[in-house]
Amino acid sequence: MTHLAEEDMVMHYYGEANDLRRAGAHLAECEECRRALDELSMTLQAMAAIEVPERDDSYGARVWSRIQPRLEVPETRSWRQQISAFCTWPRLAAAGALAVLLVAAYVAGRSSVPPPQPEAQRARVPSDAARERVLLAAVGSHLDRSRVVLTEIAHRNGGGTVDIAPEQATAADLAADNRLYRQAAARNGDAAVAAVLEDLERVLVEIASSRSPASHDDLARWREQIQTKGLLFKVTVMGSRVRERQQDAAAASRPASKTST
């Protein structure tokens, strides 16, 4: 008698086996497999030990009240239009400004000197910390994704043409976000950060707007831009700084991490 494989057993448990009837028939006859299934069930039932905090019926309304002031115009279709929309998007501009301030503070090594803020903003409410963590996560993710695209492009070779459609789609997304961060950095007088982001954006926009498949010359030009500016290194360093900052923010928030709902 051929027993059920472990994968078949797991899929049977979830009702996803390729042949449920065959598996069921075998289990009816085979005590060993029934015992194995019982053990699997017991283990998986233990997962119920993790309980999710309750959220009542009004939770959705509370989420709406928190995000509604931050909703503006959704993205339009093309990546060029998306970039324009981002630039006129006050909510994101404000978020981007805060994120870049945090990045810039670390890159410039002057995290202890906060930018001047209105009196009302000095009294931080708990949601500020949460927002900061999400923003740092967003900026860190942006830099990580940018680094991946630059690395992939820098290492692409080939005598003829190369399909870069996936990298182009990512570059278009990143260019839109990047412009937001760059403008915020410039507005806040962080020239060094703005310069790195400007170099990054130039390459991203070129990649996004080029034809795919890309020619050998295109790849060589982008590679040169990336290498000449030391772009990959700078983006990697900025990403590391943001990660450090994010870890600090997470550590700082831990003692007060309880949330009421």
């Binding site: 797991v10 996803e16 699997l40 283990t43 993790i50 949330t259």
Partner: protein
């Protein structure tokens, strides 16, 4: 595709931004549940919920009705959760699944007064082991497992959410279960 969701998405795309409220109110709890199981932390889950809906609104023109709105929203939730997890300290350097502020100590006090304190403590210990086991999964395994085991998504749906082939989604669920079994068995030794 849920017809009401589709209709609301069309209204939002047409400029009726307040219509988005319907989608937020309808899906917030399931998004929170998923985010909590993925991040293992209540505050992180709250952050992810907000970021998920903000991204969904911003990117609503990218939504294609080939999958349900809920599936699309799950995908954003998974991405937001992964973004957050990649940026925060590794497991072990922070408390996970919310055991801060002396909750264990409180549990011990409660247990001493309970009718069956040993069983309650055993349950607590099982919970700790389950949390630790979940941290041993890769992002994809954890996401696939949570969506299959807790949220009841089919393997096909999980593949769409994670943007992987059905076979990869299936393998991720299987690998997750394998790892969890290795970490958790035998659970009997924790029984009082």
């Amino acid at each position: 595709m849920d017809a009401s969701d589709l209709a609301v998405v069309a209204r939002v795309r047409a400029g009726d931004h307040d219509a988005f409220r319907f989608l937020v109110e309808r899906h917030s709890r399931s998004v929170f549940r998923l985010a909590y199981r993925l991040t293992g932390h209540e505050q992180d889950a709250e952050d992810v919920v907000q970021e998920t809906f903000l991204r969904a609104f911003r990117q609503i023109r990218r939504f294609e009705s080939r999958s349900s709105f809920a599936t699309w929203l799950y995908r954003i939730t998974v991405n937001c959760s992964h973004d957050l997890l990649r940026q925060r300290p590794r497991a072990g350097s922070r408390q996970s699944l919310d055991d801060p502020d002396g909750a264990v100590a409180k549990e011990l006090v409660d247990a001493s007064a309970a009718a069956d304190p040993l069983r309650k403590l055993a349950s607590r210990r099982i919970g700790e082991r389950v949390r630790a086991a979940m941290h041993g999964l890769s992002e994809q395994e954890r996401s696939a497992f949570v969506m299959r085991h807790f949220e009841g998504l089919s393997i096909d749906e999980i593949g769409r959410v994670l943007d992987v082939k059905t076979s990869a989604a299936k393998h991720s669920v299987f690998r997750a279960v394998q790892k969890l079994r290795r970490s958790l068995e035998p659970l009997g030794e924790l029984e009082p």
